[in-house]
């Protein structure tokens, strides 16, 4: 239980660092792209370790630039970046998770993207939109992920369903059929805890709703939002999904055993299932999220950002350009299985022959919507999760949405 102590000490150390370094250097001179220089890049998790292979190719073409990639864990990256910004010791470039953009734009830490070099039309619209605040883009989309529906075809057949679910109604009928045929739960749906919003936003978008309305205010008590809450909650109400959640739960095993034969998740699950549950190869399918008004998923993923006080912005732009060309993006897909954000990359052979599930994600990406960049996204998401956890336990969707809207209004604007 000494964690608290170290937490509060860490908190104060951060602040101390802020105080001590507030008069440190800023900006620094610019270095042209063809001068000898070292470019530091922070990349998260697995990407951090795999990126080096790609940047090695880049340095072959640009022998004057040395690229230093520092892998940073996803769990600590937020704090590390905030500390680095406070200390004015940021790297030149970083990979930035799509939901983290808003916060760092608000901190005024990111360099706007040169729209002459990077064109919005080259990328999937949603991947670009999550980097745009007040008309200015602050990051170039690197890779994308979007949610789709995974379901067991063999068990569906046993349960008497031979058609892929395309509407909310189909989806729920399939869940009920699964359960009737012996599955413990009709579907997997995260009811509460960190990340629960990810199980709900595709319902909101498919119902025609939005997180932030046209007027710039949250739209969480709109009729579409309430419709989405109600539909989402009906799985718990009817006993088709488990009401309680254990942090760290991974659906892969239960999907393989047939205990939860349906779930919604991102593209990485294809590799996870093939690795951990090889026995169900060919016995499951990935389809776009079922539609209400439309089938609209949401886009996560990561962008490449350059920090404002980097002295190597020209070189950073070169590297960003290299990493977002169709060829490199296709190579990156082979290395990391991350979906290219650049549309043209999907015509490369590695992706063209990628099979059905890949085609599904391509379709989803075309229509998916962005998570708008919000300064207080963490709080916003936590508020949505709080509401979801109440609704999953049986609270009235309309009333809860109203309270949520009020909380959210205090967080936006």
């Amino acid at each position: 239980m000494t964690r608290t102590k170290s937490v509060s000490v860490a908190a104060t150390v951060v602040v101390t660092a802020l105080a001590l370094t507030s008069c440190g250097s800023s900006g620094g001179e610019r270095v042209a792209a063809d001068k000898k220089q070292t470019l530091t890049v922070w990349a998260m998790g697995e990407e951090g370790t795999r990126l080096k292979a790609v940047t090695d190719e880049f340095t072959k073409q640009h022998p004057n630039i040395t690229v230093k990639v520092t892998p940073v864990g996803w769990d600590v990256v937020h704090q590390k970046l905030v500390s680095a910004i406070a200390a004015k010791k940021t790297p030149d470039m970083a990979q930035m998770g799509s939901t983290m953009m808003g916060e760092f734009i608000a901190l005024d830490a990111l360099e706007p993207v040169d729209t002459k070099t990077f064109k919005k039309s080259d990328f999937f619209p949603a991947t670009w939109d999550s980097n745009v605040k007040d008309g200015t883009a602050y990051g170039v989309p690197w890779y994308a992920d979007t949610r789709a529906l995974y379901y067991r075809t063999d068990l569906a057949e046993k349960a008497g369903v031979d058609k892929a679910p395309t509407t909310w109604k189909d989806q729920q009928a399939l869940a009920a059929a699964y359960q009737k045929a012996g599955a413990e739960w009709g579907t997997d749906l995260q009811p509460s805890s960190t990340g629960a919003w990810q199980s709900w936003v595709q319902y909101l978008y498919s119902a025609g709703g939005e997180l932030i309305g046209k007027d710039g205010k949250p739209a969480l008590d709109s009729p579409a939002a309430i419709r989405a809450f109600t539909q989402w909650a009906s799985y718990f109400k009817k006993g088709l999904a488990k009401k309680t959640f254990t942090p760290g739960y991974d659906v892969t095993k239960d999907f393989g055993s047939g205990k939860r034969p349906m779930f919604q998740s991102g593209p990485w699950m294809v590799a996870n299932i093939d690795d951990q549950q090889p026995q169900i190869k060919g016995k499951y399918k990935v389809v776009p999220v079922p539609a209400d008004k439309t089938s609209t998923s949401w886009v996560g993923g990561a962008s490449l950002v350059t920090f404002k006080n980097s002295a190597h912005k020209a070189a950073a732009e070169e590297l960003t350009q290299y990493l977002t060309t169709p060829k490199t993006q296709a190579k990156w897909y082979e290395a990391d299985k991350a979906l290219p954000a650049n549309k043209a990359a999907w015509d490369e052979p590695a992706l063209k022959g990628g099979g059905d599930s890949l085609a599904t994600f391509k379709t989803s990406l075309d229509t998916a919507k962005a998570i708008p960049p919000l300064e207080k996204w963490n709080e916003f998401a936590a508020a949505v999760e709080g509401a979801l956890s109440k609704i999953s336990q049986g609270a009235d969707p309309a009333a809860t949405a109203k309270t949520l809207q009020k909380t959210a209004e205090g967080l936006v604007g």
């Binding site: 239980m1 000494t2 964690r3 608290t4 102590k5 937490v7 509060s8 000490v9 908190a11 104060t12 150390v13 602040v15 101390t16 802020l18 105080a19 507030s22 937020h78 704090q79 905030v82 910004i85 406070a86 004015k88 916060e103 608000a106 901190l107 005024d108 830490a109 413990e184 509460s192 805890s193 960190t194 488990k242 009401k243 309680t244 959640f245 254990t246 942090p247 760290g248 205990k259 300064e375 207080k376 963490n378 709080e379 936590a382 956890s389 109440k390 336990q393």
Partner: protein, 328 residues
């Protein structure tokens, strides 16, 4: 060991608090102060410089900074320019007690402490007494067994307990299934999640209480026990009239340390439940961590830290008063 402890109000707890009064009276406080600053003590100061430097930079300064911060609205945007944070007086503190989540966290932490501390002390004492006199063989084995959870990383502990408590294929669920009983989803239920965490914390912390009690028990002179037995005391009377009173200093130390640890509870809910379901295991420290590091409300989180600090201080003082040795 003598049972004389320091005079009333002296905070020094435990066995070392034996301060014979006579010596104090010989040297007046004035002479002592002069001594402390004299050249004579230069070496002492030099030797303690490394500690002092570290303490001042990493403990004292942050502690003061946190206090100051708790009166400001320090948030994410102040990161690049800390001095731009606005002083808001006691706003953070008044806001705290209107924050439903904080009140719930206070209640949950209280629940955790009130149930967890007596259970930890009780089971630690029981284990120590049994190991001290009951079991002769395998003593080391049991000692290691009870102490192992204390030194095991919480993440490893969490993995094991998740397996034990898992509602579909866990150890308890499996046993229940064999016996034909439907076992509940411990961590998923609002009523059972906290008791489950308490059980885990007791299991995890009783080892340190046990080791301290063992040391205390071994310091009890055998003559006293023999005398009691000659006087016709039974096992229970011996425990009640000899062991417990003579263990009082140890008891005080264990109670104070365990309570402080339990009041600061963070790891158990952090790794096991993430504060859920529906905030039923949200503790003050966890709430503080989220406000501070997830949402970057540093001012607000600092205020929370100070409220917790005052609570810890108050409870510790109360314990020192209540458990003070009255035999001298």
């Amino acid at each position: 060991m003598s049972t004389t402890t320091a005079q009333a109000g002296t905070p020094g707890a435990g066995q070392d608090a034996v301060v014979p009064k006579a010596q104090d009276d010989g040297a007046g406080p004035d002479r002592r102060r002069r001594d402390r600053l004299s050249r004579h003590n230069l070496a002492g100061w030099l030797f303690s410089t490394p500690f002092l430097v570290l303490f001042l930079t990493f403990m004292a300064f942050p502690i003061v900074a946190t206090l100051l911060m708790s009166f400001t609205d320090f948030g994410l945007r102040n990161v690049t320019d800390p001095l731009s944070a606005q002083f808001v007086g006691l706003d953070n503190y008044t806001k705290l007690f209107q924050d439903d989540k904080f009140v719930k966290a206070l209640f949950n932490t209280g629940y955790f402490v009130i149930l967890g501390v007596p259970l930890t002390i009780g089971s630690g004492l029981a284990a120590a007494v049994l190991l001290n006199s009951g079991i002769d063989r395998l003593r080391t084995f049991f000692r290691v067994g009870f102490y192992a959870p204390v030194v095991t990383a919480i993440v490893a502990v969490a993995v094991i307990w998740r397996f034990v408590l898992d509602p579909s294929e866990g150890l308890i669920a499996g046993l229940g299934h064999q016996l034909g009983i439907q076992t509940p989803d411990f961590l998923g239920s609002e009523t059972l999640a906290m008791p489950s965490l308490i059980m885990m914390a007791v299991w995890r912390n009783m080892g340190s209480a046990m080791v301290l009690f063992l040391a205390g028990l071994q310091a009890i002179p055998t003559e006293v026990r023999e005398a009691a037995r000659i006087d016709g005391a039974g096992i229970f009377q011996e425990f009640r009239r000899i062991t417990v009173p003579l263990l009082r200093p140890t008891m005080l130390y264990v109670a104070v340390m365990t309570t402080i640890g339990f009041l600061n509870v963070f790891e158990e809910p952090f790794v096991m439940t993430d504060g859920g379901p529906n905030d039923s295991t949200l503790t003050i420290s966890l709430h503080m961590y989220r406000e501070g590091f997830d949402f970057f409300h540093m001012g607000y989180a600092s205020a929370m830290a100070y409220v917790l600090f005052v609570i810890v201080l108050a409870i510790t003082t109360l314990q020192l008063r209540l458990l003070k040795d009255k035999t001298s």
